[in-house]
């Protein structure tokens, strides 16, 4: 109690948000943020491709496709991203696979988001009424044609909000890339903090994350509202 009382407000601000340091750190952290966004965008984009393939495999009636797909999903959703990244970067060298940090990071984020995106797509596809597939098939379309022209275009609208949320989650998770030496926000934050003996870089990093995630979260809930209106029409 005594200890807390001795710290006054000015000192507190100086420790956690020193304005001069903040100005000095900002360009470094912003360029790190740019990298975080690039990693996340690339990871999410590859994740969307992986996710679509895995989702189609999971809902397939061929066990040869659906079993491996669900093993993949369970594996990557059942282990922490931290462990996945470390496995790719620190464990694969034991079998002679040495990846540079940026590649290990991209692969880790892509495989991880692929698993989550797969579940989002699967739920989206299953949310389309059964009658749509039947109507398409009854017109002579193959399963693939029905999926491609009828089911997936409708599912895409449904998955935009959860995909945005997944993007937000991945952006935050990209901070874990610091354990494999990728110079993103968290990595810069740590090095700036230890060089300055000051906590300002932590505060600033948190603010940068918030300035990215809050608008995206609002966008997701806005889209969700728009979609529910679209649905009540149909």
């Amino acid at each position: 109690m005594l200890f807390v009382a001795e710290i006054n407000l000015a000192q507190l601000i100086d420790k956690y948000f020193n304005f001069k340091l903040a100005l000095e750190f900002l360009p470094h952290l912003l360029s790190a943020a740019r990298w975080a966004i690039i990693y996340t965008l690339v990871g999410e984009s590859i994740g969307i491709i992986i996710g679509l393939v895995i989702a189609l495999a999971r809902i397939s009636s061929f066990k040869l496709l659906s079993y491996p797909a669900s093993i993949y999903v369970n594996l990557f959703r059942g282990t922490p991203l931290l462990v996945q990244l470390m496995f790719i970067y620190y464990a694969l060298p034991y079998v002679g696979i040495n990846l540079p940090p940026y590649l290990a990071g991209i692969i880790g984020l892509s495989l991880n988001s692929g698993a989550y995106v797969a579940e989002i797509f699967r739920a989206g596809i299953l949310s389309i009424p059964k009658g749509q597939m039947e109507a398409a098939r009854s017109l002579g379309m193959s399963y693939g044609q029905a999926m491609f022209y009828v089911i997936i275009p409708q599912a895409v609208r449904v998955v935009i909000p959860p995909l945005t949320n997944e993007f937000v989650a991945l952006l935050k998770d990209s901070s874990l890339l610091y354990v494999i030496q990728v110079p993103e926000i968290a990595y810069r934050m740590r090095s700036l903090a230890s060089a300055s003996f000051n906590a300002t870089s932590y505060t600033l990093a948190a603010l940068i994350y918030l300035s990215l995630t809050i608008p995206l979260t609002y966008f997701a809930s806005y889209m969700e509202k728009r979609l529910s209106r679209y649905k009540s029409h149909a």
């Binding site: 009658g131 039947e134 109507a135 017109l139 002579g140 022209y149 275009p153 409708q154 609208r157």
Partner: protein, 249 residues
């Protein structure tokens, strides 16, 4: 050639089981080209399942379905080819909500039958004009009334030039004032010589339009005959009970 065939559909001892629930227990039905057959019967008697078997949305457990001389239950039958010959219209319309009326009509003939856009468009315009929906060409399904949507669904099925049309309670989801426009479209189709299998609760339609009425109960055809016979002098007790229930309701 179709006209020479004695029967366009021959269903022989058709059985369908879901788990250990036998829903169709040996259905026999023969349909001549251009014939309009109405199927009536209580809920759960297997009417929808019978229709869905004819275009293979359900796989029959045993028995034969012979369409234009080809047994659909044989392995190696091209399901997608069969379905182009047999159009089906559902109670819930099932239009594609992300596509306009025009796109709904053009999708399958262009992608499945690889017909040219011009040819399909011409056909679509002809059908929609006949249905009185030409000005809705660019509308989305959710901008149409139920009756309009159902007529678009009929037009969509006709785009494939089917030889047989199946209708499963297509007016049951409609507001009463919209039923007539859909039934009128079906009457016109019947008058044009289309072979039709119609599951319906519209006894007036069955009486007026059908060549034959089939009464189903508990997975079998209990009685069939000309509409005037079935409606005025049913022979079977279950038919009598069913009709007295629906006609007084």
């Amino acid at each position: 050639m179709l006209k020479d065939m004695q029967f366009i559909i021959e269903i022989e001892d058709l059985r369908k089981r879901f788990g250990d629930n036998e829903v169709l227990k040996g259905v026999n039905l023969k349909v001549k080209p251009s014939e309009v057959v109405c199927i009536i019967g209580p809920s759960g008697s297997g009417k929808s399942t019978l229709l869905r078997c004819v275009n293979l949305l359900e796989k029959p457990s045993s028995g034969k379905i012979i369409l234009e001389g080809i047994d659909l239950t044989q392995p190696g039958v091209d399901i997608n080819k069969v379905r182009q010959k047999v159009g089906i219209v559902f109670q819930s319309y099932n239009l594609f909500p992300h596509l306009t009326v025009e796109q709904n009509l053009l999708l399958a003939p262009m992608r499945v039958q690889k017909r040219s856009r011009e040819e399909c468009l011409e056909k679509a315009e002809k059908l929609l004009r006949r249905m009185g929906l030409i000005e809705k060409m660019r509308a989305y399904p959710d901008q149409l009334s139920g009756g309009q949507q159902q007529r678009v669904a009929i037009a969509r099925a006709l785009m494939m030039d089917p030889d047989v049309m199946l209708f499963d309670e297509v007016t049951s989801a409609l507001d009463p004032e919209l039923v007539k426009e859909v039934l009128d479209a079906m009457k016109e189709l019947a008058a044009g010589g289309m072979t039709m299998l119609v599951v319906t609760h519209e006894m007036g339609f069955a009486r007026e339009v059908s060549d034959r009425v089939v009464f189903m109960d508990h997975g079998v055809i209990v009685e069939e005959g000309k509409p005037e016979e079935i409606f005025t002098a049913p022979k079977n007790r279950r038919t009598k009970e069913f009709l007295s229930r629906v006609l007084t309701a």
